[in-house]
């Protein structure tokens, strides 16, 4: 049962004890999950069957009691039958508990296992994959879609199987009494199936339209309220009111349409008509002496059991549909290929930090225009290169080609003269550190966050790194110092503080190449002094690519490269660019 995970052909991380599932289609995937627990599955089917048989036994015993009152030993027979019924009621209760216990366990395990499978698979995907995903989407899959799998079984599959069995067992019991009595119940089953299909076909589009109308209504309203200051400033209240009234009316119309479809639910009528027809049929047979009064009562009671399946809401089928859709989306994520190539045989050595881009062109998969076009530049070991350009001009993409988050389409990226694709991935990434624009910290202690990349680091090493990153001061002022937990339930830190922790984290691993996306804004100059000191500490002695908005930092860089719409338009020192580049002059126009 425990084979190495092979759910993704290439992955950066795997769990040896993980179970292997069939990920070819959603249905097979669910089946392979469920079949891990054959006992629960068998227990569920058997107890549902037992429940249905007991349910049908109840009217049967009642019918026997009806006939028993004619017998000479009526009192004794009545008592016996009542005790028997009591036994059946007990057994039915136990079977019911059994059903719930097995299906609920199965459903919850399905959710747990699927979530675990998904998370493990996500941890194994390449960084490029994660860059493409929106966290919200992935979260929706790990939380909601996986939850849908649970609901699909409990109550979805449970109710459907329950209804099916409860549709069949009364028929079997009726047949046992008198096959002819099956006439109307069988007609009912056929009509019921037809009515249910028709109902579902009518309800589906209306429900979808209603959900959409509601989504529209609340999205529109959300916008109006979020932008209320602007609405007022623009004196646009009448316009917004018209828009809202339109949406609200559209929803009302769909609501009424849904009400109309629901009001026409036919199975209720069908089951009552079956009841009357079977009764009439039974009276006819009773007149012929084919059945006893007690048997007629039993048949009528069994027809009553059919009311259960008739109550089966269309929602149950929707639940199974939603579960399948959830499975499809989850699988799409699990099965997505990652363009990863560990290259374990590749070059691994101590990096000097020489970076060279040779005629590099890169286009995002699916994008029309290239993000970087024919891009050439060279950064020598120890140099600080500032990258300047508008949002969307390709600055971050450029840095992501160095550590192979992405691979170039044409041209080459060389580190120490070796194409990055020929480096051993592990060795390459270990010597390159990235400090992102939005620094991510884990909900752990400050100390653990700084030592994240070097779990064996001593406390002294952590403190030394924090000091160099100008973080020691504010850390000691936190309630529990280095043991303070960061995050929603812990201390909240400012952007500048988070950035300095990230710098400390990077300092501890001592990379040769540093990529710094520095968009943190300090409101006051004192904080800025500390941030600049920290940044300088981390830049020292490394090749650094710095994306920055700080004019002073741009000036101080050894070299500045200017990007404009995916092309390198100029490069040089501050003095050179100020002399010859119009765009560059425009930037500094108001400051010098």
């Amino acid at each position: 049962m425990t084979t190495p995970a092979a759910s993704t052909p290439t992955s950066e991380f795997r769990v040896d004890s993980a179970h292997t599932y069939d990920t070819s289609t959603p249905v097979r995937w669910i089946v392979s999950h469920v079949s891990r627990y054959p006992l629960l599955l068998v227990g569920f089917v058997l107890s549902t069957l037992a429940f249905a048989i007991c349910s049908s036994l109840v009217p049967r015993i009642a019918g026997l009691a009806f006939d028993a009152v004619d017998r000479p030993d009526a009192g004794q027979a009545l008592l016996t039958l009542s005790l028997l019924l009591m036994g059946v009621v007990f057994a039915r209760g136990l079977a019911d508990f059994g059903t719930i216990n097995s299906i609920e366990r199965l459903a919850q395990r399905l959710e747990r296992d699927a979530r675990s499978e998904l998370t493990t698979s996500l941890l194994g995907k390449s960084q490029a994959f994660h860059d493409r995903q929106r966290v919200g989407d992935v979260m929706a899959r790990a939380a909601d879609d996986v939850r849908q799998l649970n609901l699909m079984f409990s109550p979805g599959v449970q109710l459907i199987l329950d209804s099916l069995i409860n549709l069949v067992t009364p028929l079997v019991f009726i047949a046992a009494i008198d096959v002819r009595m099956l006439l109307f119940p069988l007609l009912f089953v056929a009509a019921f199936a037809w009515a249910l299909r028709r109902y579902s076909a009518r309800l589906d589009p209306v429900s979808t339209a209603m959900r959409e109308a509601f989504g529209h209504l609340s999205a529109g309203l959300n916008e109006t309220i979020a932008g209320i200051e602007l609405v007022k400033a623009a004196a646009a209240e009448p316009y917004e009111r018209r828009r809202f009234a339109q949406n609200a009316r559209a929803f009302r119309d769909q609501f009424v349409r849904q009400g109309d479809v629901q009001a026409r639910y036919l199975p209720y009528l069908l089951v009552w008509l079956t009841f009357a027809a079977t009764f009439g049929h039974g009276l006819l047979l009773l007149g012929q002496g084919s059945i006893s009064v007690g048997e007629l009562v039993a048949v009528i009671g069994l027809v009553g059991v059919l009311r259960g399946p008739a109550d089966l809401s269309i929602f149950t089928f929707a639940m199974v549909q939603m579960g399948l859709a959830g499975a499809r989306r989850t699988l799409a994520l699990i099965n997505e290929e990652t363009e990863l190539d560990e290259n374990p045989e590749g070059y691994a050595g101590v990096m000097k930090g020489d970076i060279r881009f040779e005629d590099v062109t890169f286009t995002f998969p699916g994008a029309e225009a290239p993000t970087l076009e024919r891009f050439t530049f060279h950064a020598r070991p120890g140099e600080t290169v500032a990258i300047v350009g508008q949002t969307g001009s390709g600055k971050s993409t450029l840095t992501k080609l160095v550590n192979r988050t992405f691979d170039v389409d044409s041209g080459r990226v060389l580190v120490d003269g070796i194409d990055v694709r020929d480096w051993n991935m592990e060795s390459l990434r270990q010597q390159i550190s990235v400090i992102e624009q939005e620094v991510f910290l884990f909900s752990r202690s400050v100390r653990d966050n700084i030592a994240f990349g070097l779990p064996g680091a001593t406390f002294d090493q952590v403190v030394a790194a924090a000091k160099a990153a100008q973080a020691h001061g504010f850390i000691t002022e936190l309630p529990q110092g280095y043991d303070t937990v960061i995050g929603e339930r812990g201390a909240t830190l400012s952007g500048g503080q988070r950035q300095r922790l990230a710098i400390a984290r990077a300092l501890l691993t001592d990379p040769r190449i540093l990529i710094l996306d520095d968009a943190t804004s300090a409101i006051d100059s004192a904080t800025e002094d500390e941030i600049q000191t920290a940044i300088n500490a981390v830049l020292k002695g490394r090749t650094s690519l710095v994306i920055t908005h700080r004019l002073s930092q741009i000036r101080r860089a050894d070299r500045i490269i200017m990007l404009d719409r995916s092309r390198l338009v100029d490069q040089g020192t501050h003095a050179e660019l100020l002399e010859r580049n119009e765009l560059y002059q425009r930037i500094f126009q108001r400051y010098d």
Binding site: T119, L123, F255, A276
Partner: protein
């Protein structure tokens, strides 16, 4: 069984109404539909009667068959009227139910529509002080979900009436047949009600636990996914995985517990009902033997149990669901009834403004007891650009908010062109006011739609001209589709700097006399920053401008800098004058603006070789 989970998401109410007040207002919304409602009530009664008739007719049929003995087709023929009645009852019950649902859907749909329009009107009329206290999400849910829950009160009540009627009719029939047997049958009532209520209590507790742990799993996954880059860079995936497995196992444990508790109500109620059947079978049979009831009546008792116990569970759940509905309507009404803080003394149409602003002894506080402005005086001549500077809480934004009339001041006067701001028709006043927020809000639509927002009458040429006049218009070139670039909700997809440029174009198109600008504190890429600065020069020229300044270049170019502290003016003048004076402004400059200079270089950070001299 939604009722078990109902009421878990209760909020703090902002206002308490008595149930009578609430009901009166709810009924008020239904009054226009009174005729339909009365018809629905009639349909409910008819439906209940038809449904209760079915077992009674069956019971008659059985007795009829038994009375005549087994005599061929006669048994059937003699019971033909009963059978026809059964078919008729079934058809009628269905028809009544159909009409009831269809009419109810219309009434509820219309009432919710009216209510939503009312709440929406109330919401957009609230002043900005109100929106400080209420988040967007809360207001939206009041207009969308709470109004829907409100209608639940009605649907629920209708359902309850229908079920109570059925139970009552059956009850009466049973008692009219045999009191003793009826008492035994109905003894099941309190047991089922008690069990349903007890379950609700247990379910709420386990649900709360399960909800908490679910949130924890989600938080854990969110952290793993957001932090995956860091984990990969440092090769720490295994640590994250171990963490996740622990939380996932806990979620499974509590989720299972919750699921089992919620689901086991069905076996329990079914079991109680089953015991009821046993009792009726035994005592009913004994009564038949004693000759107290007929066999048909015995059948009726047994059948009625099924009609009985399911409605009972709904009745047990009614009260709490009803309370939830009332609570929802309370939230809706509270939103509608909030007292506005901004009160106009008149609604004078505002003439074309020059833009002279005068604060005369103005007192202002966001919260009573913590004044922001106390006897504030300031005159801004028409056309002047004023930069407000000072520490957080100095009162800079308050001045802008008062001019935009988002908040009410307590004492004093605020005069625009010498006219009392309180006497203005706010819509016509705001047409002459341009506001640029710190994080400009963009609506879904194109950049063009956004520039035109609030000036639907503007021509294509005017929009284009406004866009081109901001920083020469070259910012449009860096947008994927220029003016046709689609904006997703809230302005995601374009940078903060570009949002500001759109907001500036918007103001240009509006051509207001007064501009209030809250400068961004976020860092913006240097080229866009230069474009914004160029755009500002165009937008502020010739208008009275109040700038809450965070940018060095803005304070430098302002006509007049006002240094605020604790709601008082400490200093005023131009950048050069104030810096030379070496007072409060010089201090603020040292604290907030120094590092924005291009020649900023904290001591000893860079070697001399790296610091080329600026040109000239």
């Amino acid at each position: 069984m939604g009722f078990i989970l109902g009421g878990l998401t209760g909020e703090e109410y902002d206002r308490n109404y008595s149930d009578a007040q609430l009901l009166r207002r709810i009924v008020g919304y239904f009054r226009p539909h009174l005729g339909k409602m009365l018809f629905v009530a009639l349909l409910i009664a008819l439906n209940a009667a038809a449904l209760a008739l079915l077992p009674v007719l069956t019971s008659r049929g059985i007795d009829g068959a038994l009375a005549r003995g087994a005599q061929g087709v006669e048994v059937f023929n003699a019971n033909l009227p009963v059978l026809l009645l059964m078919v008729a009852a079934a058809g009628l019950a269905w028809t009544f139910n159909f009409l009831r649902q269809a009419i109810t859907a219309r009434v509820v749909g219309d009432v919710v529509l009216t209510l939503r329009e009312d709440v929406f009107d109330a919401a957009v009329e609230r002043d900005m002080a109100f929106y400080d206290d209420y988040s967007t999400g809360r207001v939206v849910s009041r207009v969308t979900s709470d109004t829907q829950d409100f209608s639940n009160v009605v649907t629920l009540t209708l359902g309850l009436i229908s079920e109570v009627l059925i139970v009552a009719i059956v009850f009466v029939i049973l008692f009219s047949i045999n009191v003793r047997l009826a008492l035994i049958t109905t003894a099941i009532t309190p047991v089922i009600l008690g069990a349903a209520l007890a379950f609700r209590w247990i379910a709420r507790r386990t649900s709360r636990q399960a909800k908490r742990v679910k949130a924890e799993v989600n938080a854990n996954i969110q952290e793993s996914i957001t932090g995956i880059g860091v984990a990969k860079a440092f090769r720490q995936e295994a640590a994250l995985h171990a963490d996740f497995e622990r939380v996932n196992a806990e979620a499974y444990r509590l989720g299972l517990k919750q699921g089992l508790v919620l689901q086991s109500i069905f076996p329990v109620l079914g079991f109680i009902a089953g015991l009821g059947t046993v009792v009726v079978l035994y005592y009913g049979g004994s009564a038949v033997l004693a000759g107290a009831v007929t066999r048909g009546e015995w059948f009726l008792f047994a059948e009625s149990l099924a009609l009985f116990w399911f409605p009972l569970t709904s009745i047990a759940s009614f009260w709490s669901q009803f309370q939830d509905g009332l609570a929802a309507s309370e939230r809706v009404f509270a939103l509608m009834d909030t007292e506005p803080q901004v009160v106009q003394t008149g609604a004078e149409p505002v003439p074309e403004l020059e833009g002279r602003i005068e604060f005369r002894n103005v007192h202002f506080a966001y919260k009573p007891g913590s004044p922001v402005l106390q006897g504030f005086d300031l005159v801004i001549p028409a056309g002047q650009t004023v930069a407000l500077v000072g520490h957080t809480g100095a009162g800079k934004s308050s001045l802008g908010k008062l001019i935009a009339r988002g908040y009410e001041f307590e004492k004093g006067e605020l005069l625009i062109d010498g006219l009392d701001i309180r006497s203005f028709d706010l819509v016509s006043y705001r047409r002459q006011l341009g506001v640029v927020q710190q994080t400009p809000y963009l609506f879904t639509g194109t950049i063009r739609d956004n520039i035109r927002y609030g000036r639907e009458d503007a021509s294509e040429e005017q929009v284009l001209a406004a866009a081109r006049n901001v920083a020469g218009g070259d910012w449009l070139d860096s947008l994927p589709a220029g003016l046709d670039t689609e904006i997703s909700e809230g302005g995601r997809g374009i940078s903060m700097g570009q949002r500001q440029l759109v907001a500036l174009a918007r103001v240009l198109l509006k051509d207001p006399a007064i501009v209030i600008l809250d400068e961004a504190t976020a860092s913006i890429d240097p080229l866009t920053e230069a474009q914004i600065q160029e755009g500002l020069e165009t937008v502020l020229k010739g208008r009275t401008s109040i700038v809450i300044a965070h940018r060095l270049s803005t304070v430098r170019s302002a006509d007049r800098i006002i240094v605020l502290s604790h709601g008082r003016i400490l200093e005023e003048g131009t950048h050069d004058e104030l810096l030379a004076a070496g007072g409060h402004y010089a201090e603020l400059f040292e604290a907030y603006f120094r590092h924005q200079s291009a020649s900023y270089d904290p001591e000893g950070l860079s070697g001399p070789a790296r610091t080329p001299r600026p040109r000239g």
